[in-house]
C-alpha cells in the first residue's frame, strides 16, 4: 500500500501567527493532525466549508507553505523537515496545482502559450521547437485550438481559461495535481466540461488528484474517496459511496442535508444552526459540538480522534467509539 501512495500526509499541523504587534500576537491553528493518503491515479476529495483549512492543506502539498508539524511525503520523498529543499526540488516537476479562479491564475500580460510553457521554461527541459510543439499538443489535450497560444487570457471565457490552467499543470507530465475548487467559479454548463476533462486526463495519464471543493455533488462525480474537514480537522474519511449513502459523522450528515437538490418535491429536514467556530478561540472538546444535534457531555471536554469504524473508513466522533 505504501508503495502505491503518491502522497502520504501524517499528523499535519499548520499554525499562522496573526497580529502585528508582538504583544497581541496569537496563533491561528488552521490545521490539526491531518492524515491522509492519495494513491496513484486516485482522486481524494477534500470537502469543507470556508475556513476549514482545506486550501491551506492543498498549498502545503505543493510546497507553498512549510507546515509547523507533521510530515508530508510526495513520491516517497519527505518534503518536510531538514531535507525539505532538496526533496522539494526533486519532486517539483511532478506536482502541480489548478486554481479556483481562472481569471487570477493566468498572467494577463503573457500570451497563453508562454503561460503554458512556463513550467517547461523554468525546468529548462525543452528546446525552442520542442517547446512550441509541446504547447500545441497541450492545447489539443485540453480541447483548445492550437492558435490559442498566440492570444492573451482576456480573450477567453472562464471555462476556457481553466482549460489553459490545466494545460499548464500538465506541461511536465505530473503524477499528482492539487485541484483547489477548480470548477466552483465556472458556470454550470462549463463545470461539467472541465470535470469531464479532468477525469479523462486521469484515465489517460494515471494522475492522482487531491480535489478540494465545497460542492459535495461535484466531489461525488470525481472522487473515489472523500475526506470531510471541519475547522481544521478531518472528521470523516471514507469511500465515496459509503460517505454519501451512509454518512457517519453528524457534520457530514448536516452538510449533505444542507445541499439544495434540483427536486421541488423534496421535503427538507431541519436545517442545522450555528456557524463554523473562530479558529482563534475554538471550542474545547469536539469542535463541532456547538452545532451537533447529538452532542453529549463528553463532547464538550474530550476531542474525538479519527479512528476506523469500518474497513477503509474513519470517523472522528464519540458516537462511534462505543460501538
Amino acid at each position: 500500500m505504501a508503495d502505491d501512495a503518491l502522497v502520504e500526509v501524517r499528523d499535519l499541523d499548520m499554525a499562522f501567527n496573526v497580529g502585528k504587534a508582538r504583544a497581541r500576537r496569537t496563533t491561528l491553528q488552521v490545521l490539526r493532525k491531518l492524515s491522509f493518503d492519495v494513491g496513484r491515479g486516485e482522486t481524494l476529495g477534500l470537502v469543507g466549508e470556508s475556513g476549514s483549512g482545506k486550501s491551506t492543506a492543498g498549498r502545503i502539498l505543493v510546497g507553498l507553505f512549510e507546515p509547523t508539524g507533521g510530515s508530508v511525503k510526495l513520491f516517497g520523498r519527505t518534503i518536510t523537515g531538514p531535507e525539505r529543499k532538496a526533496n522539494l526540488a526533486a519532486v517539483r516537476s511532478r506536482v502541480q496545482f489548478v486554481f479556483q479562479d481562472p481569471h487570477a491564475a493566468l498572467n494577463p500580460r503573457m500570451r497563453v502559450g508562454d503561460s503554458i510553457a512556463e513550467p517547461i521554461d523554468i525546468a529548462g527541459a525543452h528546446t525552442r521547437r520542442d517547446r512550441s510543439h509541446r504547447v500545441k499538443e497541450l492545447l489539443e489535450m485540453v480541447g483548445l485550438p492550437r492558435d490559442a497560444a498566440e492570444r492573451f487570457p482576456h480573450e477567453f471565457s472562464g471555462g476556457q481559461r481553466q482549460r489553459i490552467v490545466i494545460a499548464r499543470a500538465l506541461a511536465l507530465e505530473p503524477g499528482f495535481i492539487v485541484c483547489d475548487e477548480p470548477v466552483s467559479a465556472l458556470d454550470v454548463s462549463m463545470q461539467a466540461q472541465v470535470v469531464n476533462l479532468l477525469m479523462d486526463l486521469q484515465t489517460k495519464f494515471g494522475i492522482g488528484y487531491l480535489f478540494i471543493a465545497h460542492d459535495l455533488a461535484v466531489v461525488r462525480a470525481v472522487a473515489q474517496r472523500v475526506a470531510v474537514i471541519y475547522a481544521g480537522s478531518i472528521v470523516e474519511i471514507a469511500s465515496k459511496d459509503a460517505l454519501y449513502e451512509q454518512p457517519q459523522h453528524p457534520y457530514t450528515q448536516a452538510l449533505l442535508d444542507a445541499v439544495p437538490r434540483p427536486d421541488p418535491a423534496r421535503v427538507r429536514g431541519p436545517v442545522i444552526g450555528g456557524e463554523v467556530p473562530s479558529l482563534l478561540a475554538p471550542p474545547p472538546g469536539c469542535r463541532f459540538h456547538t452545532r451537533c444535534p447529538h452532542a453529549m457531555p463528553r463532547c464538550q471536554v474530550e476531542e474525538p480522534r479519527l479512528r476506523e469504524t469500518a474497513p477503509g473508513r474513519q470517523t472522528a466522533c464519540h458516537l462511534y467509539e462505543t460501538l
Binding site: E49, S50, S157, G158, G159, Q160, D187, V188, S189, M190, Q191, A192, Q193, V195, N196, M199, H214, D215, L216, A217, V218, R220, A221, Y244, E245, A254, L255, L256, D257, A258, V259, P260, R261, P262, D263, P264, A265, R266, R268, V271, I272, G273, E275, V276
Partner: protein, 328 residues
C-alpha cells in the same frame, strides 16, 4: 389575482462596449403577482441580474440604456419615472438583497445606523423608534443577542450574519417585492440553507413577493414556485417549478439539468453542453442557443424563435418544439 404587482413588457437593455451598444437583455416580458415567488435561473451573461437591476433602474446612466420596453408598477412605468419617484419606491416598495454581503454594508456605520437609514428616510421615524425597530428586525432575521449586536460594526459579523443584516435592511419598510440577487452564492452550504429557510419564512410572514435570482438549480427548486430560465439575454422557458423540473421543454433547460452533478448517485460521467456562452455583442443568426443545441434544425439558424405559451403558465422559446406542441 387581478393585475400583477410588477409587469415587465418587452424589456431590452443595452450596454456600451468597445464596439457600440450590445443587447444584454432582449425582449424580456414577464409578470410578478402579489406575493408570488419567482425564481430566475441562468448562467453568466444570461441577463438575469441585468433584468433585476432594471426593475429599480439601478444601471449606471451612460453605460446602459433601456432601448425598448416598460416596467409597470402600481400603474406607473418605472423606466419613465422621475428619479424622485424612484427613490421613494426603492427600499420601500421594492427592496433588494445582493450577492456580496461583505461590500454591501458600509464598514464605518453600525448595524443600527444602516437599518435605521431607510426607516427614518421612508417612514420618518425618530432615532429611538428606529433603533427599537432595528432590534426587532434583527430578531426577525434570527440574529442572536440582537440588542447587543445592533451597535456593532459589520466587520465583527460573519458572512452569514451580514447577509441577515442585509435582509433586515431590505424588509425594514415591508416591501411588496423583494429582489434577491444570488443571496446565498457567497455563503457556505450550511449557512445557505439557513438563509433560504429564513427567506422562505419571511415571505410567508410578510406576504411579499420574492424574485430570487440564482445560477443554482437546486436553490431555485427549493425556493421558487415558478421558474424563468434565461440564456444569453433572453427568456427561453418559463414554467411552474414542478413542471419545469419534471419535464423541461427547452433543450438548454434540459442540458443545464443534465450537466448538474447529482448528489444522490447517478451517472459516472457528467453530461456537458458543448461550446461556450456567447458574448452579448456576438451576432448569432436565429436561435442564440442554436450553435450548442443537440436538437438544432435548419429553421433554428434562420428565424429567431419566439416565446410562445405551450400550456397554462408555460412559455417556451424554441421553434421546433413550440411547433410540435401546436400540432398536438
Amino acid at each position: 389575482m387581478a393585475s400583477p404587482l410588477v409587469s415587465i413588457d418587452d424589456l431590452t437593455v443595452q450596454f456600451r462596449t468597445d464596439r457600440g451598444w450590445a443587447n444584454a437583455v432582449e425582449g424580456v416580458s414577464f409578470d410578478i403577482a402579489e406575493g408570488e415567488c419567482v425564481g430566475v435561473v441562468g448562467e453568466s451573461g444570461s441577463g438575469k441580474s441585468v433584468t433585476a437591476l432594471s426593475i429599480l433602474r439601478l444601471h449606471a446612466r451612460g453605460a446602459a440604456r433601456y432601448s425598448t420596453g416598460a416596467i409597470s408598477y402600481a400603474g406607473r412605468d418605472l423606466l419613465q419615472a422621475s428619479e424622485r419617484d424612484l427613490r421613494r419606491i426603492r427600499g420601500r416598495d421594492i427592496a433588494m438583497v445582493f450577492q456580496d454581503p461583505m461590500s454591501s454594508l458600509n464598514p464605518v456605520l453600525t448595524i443600527c445606523d444602516q437599518i435605521s437609514e431607510s426607516l427614518r428616510l421612508h417612514q420618518g421615524m425618530s432615532r429611538a423608534a428606529a433603533r427599537k425597530k432595528a432590534i426587532e428586525l434583527l430578531d426577525l432575521v434570527r440574529i442572536p443577542d440582537a440588542a447587543r449586536r445592533v451597535d456593532e460594526y459589520p466587520h465583527r459579523l460573519s458572512g452569514g450574519m451580514r447577509q441577515r443584516v442585509m435582509i433586515a435592511i431590505a424588509i425594514a419598510c415591508r416591501p411588496r417585492l423583494l429582489i434577491a440577487d444570488e443571496p446565498t452564492t457567497a455563503l457556505d452550504v450550511t449557512i445557505q440553507a439557513q438563509i433560504l429557510e429564513l427567506l422562505r419564512d419571511l415571505r410567508a410572514e410578510l406576504g411579499m413577493a420574492v424574485m430570487l435570482i440564482s445560477h443554482d438549480l437546486g436553490v431555485i427548486a427549493e425556493f421558487a414556485r415558478r421558474v424563468i430560465v434565461m440564456y444569453a439575454g433572453r427568456i427561453v422557458e418559463d414554467a411552474p417549478v414542478d413542471v419545469l423540473f419534471q419535464s423541461p421543454r427547452h433543450p438548454y433547460t434540459e442540458g443545464l439539468m443534465a450537466s448538474m452533478p447529482a448528489l444522490d448517485g447517478g451517472a459516472a460521467r457528467l453530461y456537458a453542453i458543448p461550446g461556450r456562452i456567447p458574448d452579448p455583442d456576438e451576432t448569432i443568426d436565429g436561435c442564440r442557443f442554436g450553435p450548442r443545441c443537440a436538437h438544432s434544425e435548419p429553421i433554428c439558424r434562420t428565424a429567431p424563435p419566439r416565446l410562445i405559451a405551450i400550456a397554462d403558465g408555460h412559455r417556451l422559446r424554441c421553434t421546433p418544439r413550440t411547433r410540435a406542441a401546436d400540432l398536438t
